[in-house]
Structures are given as structure tokens and as C-alpha cells.
Subunit: 119 residues, 2 copies
């Protein structure tokens, strides 16, 4: 058992939730995570987010599609990467989130205990 | 800024509190920490605890003394290592704890946010 929850697991849970909410745009997920945590002084590293997405694809939870950003390919060739659940991905994701929830609760217990024992 | 609080800092705060409470017995601190966290599924590694004590000595916060365990040295030669605050150690320790408290609060904020955002 690690001391605290792993950054990778923490990020994966957020990515799953974003896909659940149909917000599975590759680059936008990165931007959203950074914006949401800025006030808490945490900047999720880009490399961690891309590794987390890669793992979710490897685990058979997500798959990728690409679409052009603009409507006119002559004007805008930029591709957007989109993430979706595989056929049994949403179920697998729920199980994974459940495991991570247990670890989040364990960590909250340890940190709350440390505050009450030492301060 | 690291993702979560470092194990070393977490342990150092507990060791400082134990010395504040006049419970600065080397081996007993290790035993107490292990007992207190057993229910939470965390076993502070012995090596981490000894490195944390070493750092607190290096930082000029604590110093060590030794005493024999039994009253009769002919019967029991086992030495006990005791930790005490240096003359300005308690003040330095308070400052250190204050820094760690800030980080504990930051981590609690992140974990509570993750629970409310994803569950």
C-alpha cells in the first residue's frame, strides 16, 4: 500500500468523469484540469495526463477518434482527439472509480487524523 | 509543488508531536506510529522513520541521548535512544509544523474536491 494516492489514479478518475459528461476532448481535458486545480496550487503535468489517457485506452476502457477542428478542411486542418467509452468501458470505469474512491477515503482518513493528532 | 504531501514530512510532524509530549523514545515512537495507523492500512516504514529522526537532528531541532533500559547494567545492557528539543528546537519545530499544516490543508482540499467532483 502506497503512502498516498497515486497522481496517475487521481487524474484517471477525472478523465473518466469527463468522458461520462461527454467532455472527452483530448486537449480540452488537460486545460480544464489545469484551470480547476490552479486555485489549489496543483498543476497536473501534461505528461501524466497523456499517460493516464494512454492507460485508459490500454485497459480497454476508452477509445480514440479524431475529427477536424473546423468545418472546412481547406481552412483548418487541426485535428481534435476525442475519447469515448468502449462497449464495456463504462462498466469497467465504474469499477475502477470505486477502487479509487476507497483509496481517496483512506487518504482523507490519514490526513484528517494527522491534523487532529498534531494540530 | 508535489502532488501530495511527502511521507517524510508527514512522519516528521508526528515525531515532533511525540517529543512535545515527552514521548521521545526512539523505538517506542516507531511502535506507536505503526499501531496508530494499522487500522488505516498504512505501515510507516522503519527506514523512513529513522531518516526523519536523522533529518530533525540535522536541522538542529532534536538531539539524542542514550540510557540503559534496565536499572542494573549487569542484567540488561540494552540502550534506549531518547530525543529532546535543542534550545531553539521547539520554536523551529513549531515553524516546521506550520508549513506542513498548510500542505496538509492543501491536500485535504484536493482530495475533498476529487470526491465531490467525481462521486
Amino acid at each position: 500500500m502506497a503512502f498516498m494516492i497515486a497522481q496517475r489514479a487521481f487524474i484517471k478518475v477525472y478523465l473518466i468523469t469527463m468522458v461520462e459528461q461527454h467532455r472527452g476532448y483530448g486537449y480540452q481535458m488537460l486545460e480544464d484540469l489545469r484551470r480547476d486545480f490552479k486555485a489549489l496550487g496543483y498543476a497536473p503535468p501534461q505528461s501524466e495526463i497523456y499517460r493516464a489517457l494512454h492507460e485508459l485506452v490500454q485497459q480497454g476502457i476508452l477509445y480514440r477518434t479524431k475529427q477536424l477542428k473546423g468545418n472546412d478542411p481547406k481552412v483548418d486542418f487541426q485535428e481534435i482527439v476525442l475519447y469515448h467509452f468502449t462497449s464495456d468501458g463504462e462498466e469497467k470505469a465504474k469499477l475502477y472509480k470505486k477502487q479509487v474512491k476507497t483509496d481517496l477515503d483512506r487518504c482523507l482518513g490519514m490526513l484528517n487524523k494527522a491534523v487532529s493528532d498534531n494540530f
